[in-house]
């Protein structure tokens, strides 16, 4: 079960498993972002390379207008994937948010 929801405060909340079957749903939400946005990972248990690809695509698009994603509240296992993939240089990851 994967859920991606825009929250009232402008953040985007992720929960469940972000796998290759969820790419279209995620693109539909991330593709609408126009400004710097926090992505709250606190409910996310798992992300695969397909999920990383969705976020990377949104980040690239936003970066063209000087904006970007701020990734917050990742669990340790998900955080480890970003570290292994060396995506820390691509995204702003705020471990203390």
């Amino acid at each position: 079960m994967f859920v991606i929801t825009p929250a009232d405060n402008g953040d985007v909340l992720l929960s469940g498993r972000f796998d290759a079957a969820q790419v279209d749903r995620a693109d539909a939400v991330l593709g609408r972002l126009q400004t710097t946005t926090r992505i709250d990972f606190s409910g996310l248990e798992y992300i695969s390379s397909a999920g990383l690809g969705c976020l990377l695509k949104a980040q690239k698009r936003l970066a063209q207008s000087g904006h970007g994603l701020i990734l917050i509240r990742m669990n340790k296992l998900v955080r480890d994937i970003f570290r292994m993939a060396r995506l820390e240089v691509v995204f702003r990851i705020d471990d203390d948010a």
Binding site: R17, D19, A20, S48, S49, A50, G53, K60, A85, V89
Partner: protein, 134 residues
């Protein structure tokens, strides 16, 4: 134990449930289970993407012997495709040139001890082994 799965990304939830069945009661750490999901998803979705011409199911076998994990995926009636030969991603590449294709298989190679590809009788078989940490 092995099972056949329809070659489509919509099979992933069923595949994760299959992995969950194997790990229940084994004491495999959450990090180990995460790696199993990641590795199987990556290898399976590669088969979905690159061997779509064959509609036959993909067979996934999982074996756990103590701390040694073996996972085998077999794609039937396909042309050869060795995922380990996919183009590599240079992590120092600037953002605008970064692409995710190729990154997944590199992560898989970091997560496992060994990845072997074989092709016989029009079947592609990928076998990974991994030592599970407690």
């Amino acid at each position: 134990m092995q099972r056949d799965f329809t070659k489509a990304v919509s099979s992933l939830s069923e595949i994760f449930a299959f992995i969950d069945e194997h790990v229940a009661g084994t004491g495999i750490s959450p990090a180990g289970v995460y790696a199993m999901y990641f590795v199987v998803e990556e290898l399976f979705t590669n088969m979905v993407k690159y061997a779509a011409a064959s509609a036959e199911d993909v067979t996934i076998a999982v074996g756990i012997d103590g701390s040694r994990l073996t996972i085998q995926l077999t794609d039937h009636n396909v042309e050869p495709f060795d995922p380990a030969n996919a183009p590599k991603v240079d992590p120092s590449t600037p953002l605008q040139e970064r692409r995710i294709g190729g990154l997944g298989i590199q992560l898989v190679q970091q997560m496992v001890d060994d990845l072997q590809y074989s092709y016989a009788d029009r079947c592609s078989t990928i076998t990974i082994t991994k030592t599970l940490e407690p």
